[in-house]
Symmetry: C2
Subunit: 244 residues, 2 copies
DNA sequence: CAGTGGTCTAGACCACATC
DNA sequence: ATGTGGTCTAGACCACTGG
């Protein structure tokens, strides 16, 4: 069933991968659900099972889907899977204990995209955004002060009450409540001095060195949908990174 | 040619991968050289070409080898390959220009492993180590102050003169001069204040916030062979990380 | 041209999960 | 027992490299 070379020079399995990605993006299969079996997909796309396997292998390597022997292939989710709980959270306790922090929302406001945010999120300057400020607490102690900027168009109905009512990680919240699934992010880290405001919130003196972590997060198709800046005390915590 | 299940429950291709890793570790093929073709390896190990492909695919995913269509499969190296120039160097210029820094060695001394270093490098406390201090300069400006601790047993003959004489990255130096190839590293990042010494070297006032990046680097078989602590000014630079 | 890795297929069997 | 993904094989052909 080898398709003719055609105008596209992409290998078949990457074309299949793109088709699967489109279906995922369109919501044909939702996070946590299983996608059709390899045999069914092979019939659907008129290719061999091996080619489908190859396509799915790429999606699995990108953490878009998760394969479970004997059960099926599932759309990855931020909701379950402790394994990926720390995929987008690199702050760890210095004493080595694994702890997932509690989030406390400080405020939520609607505003217009600044030039910088508009550039990062590919919005028009002045386009409507939602800005959340929150604190991440480990064992009750404030450690991270986050400012999260979101395109309002994608997060209609996001209110303080809904955020507070949700149990789970932020990306789980975005995924289940707004259908926006984060698949990738870039971070830029600097060291800065705490100012009066952030120092007070994080319970450190002004001037204390903090990690400043700026993040752009992307959904399917490399579309940026979140801009974030976190200030983090590293008195009892550190940022963990694995270089492969 | 399916081998009997045997006492090992590992799939064949992972067993092949381990055999290849052993050969790499033993220096049968050196960095930059090509390994035998898939067909030759399949004959050598009495398995099908597909199984060898699978084994090599894992090694390629771990950046242990590099596959080049039409040419062969090569042992990855820190010496060539601009693509991997920044794999272990995450500090970038804030203005976006790609620049590889120049290294200036401050001093090199021999000493004994402290308890902390011994634990990190799996040495006996007091075992001989070599400690390098150096500055990374971008466009002539000091940006990173590194302290690098190495097990003396693996780096015999490492002298200031040899370090200064070498042209290329540090890991390229280790690889070509001492046969120690880094394949993986863990980093822990904190924000600290510059003290008088580091401030002077990095040309910032004491108290300036700096990134403190601690690294343990590993060679084949997850053996730790380098401990490093870098202090980095983030006035014109940042630490880049990609979360996948 | 020959040799390499890259893709695709078809089929067999294994390991695991579920009923 | 059935269905899933995981492994392994054998063979064909494609795309790229270099003599």
């Amino acid at each position: 069933m080898n398709s003719a070379p055609g105008p596209s020079f992409q290998p078949l399995y990457l074309q299949i991968k793109d088709l699967l990605t489109q279906s995922l993006d369109a919501g044909e299969w939702k996070p946590g659900e299983s996608i059709p079996s390899e045999i069914v997909l092979a019939a659907r796309y008129k290719v061999s099972q091996g080619t489908v396997r190859n396509a799915i292998a790429v999606l699995a390597a990108e953490n878009i889907v998760v394969r479970r022997q004997g059960k099926g292939t599932f759309v990855a989710t931020h909701t379950e899977e402790q394994s990926s709980l720390f995929r987008f959270l690199r702050i760890r306790r210095a004493d080595g204990v694994d702890e997932y922090p509690h989030s406390r929302l400080l405020d939520l406001r609607r505003g217009k995209a600044t030039a910088e945010v508009a550039r990062m999120l590919l919005l028009r300057p002045g386009e409507a955004v939602i800005v959340l400020r929150r604190v991440l607490e480990y064992s009750g102690e404030p450690v991270v002060l986050d400012e999260i900027t979101l395109p309002a168009a994608l997060f209609r109905g996001l209110t303080r009450a809904r955020y507070d009512a949700y149990r789970g990680s932020t990306y789980s919240f975005f995924e289940t409540q707004f259908g926006v699934r984060m698949v990738r992010a870039d971070e830029r880290i600097k060291a800065i001095a705490a100012d009066a405001t952030s120092g007070e919130i994080l319970d450190v003196p002004a001037g204390t060195p903090l990690l400043a972590v700026e993040r752009v997060a992307y959904t399917y198709g490399d579309r940026p949908v979140e801009w974030r800046r976190g200030l983090c005390t590293t008195r009892k915590h550190y940022y963990l990174n694995q270089l492969g």
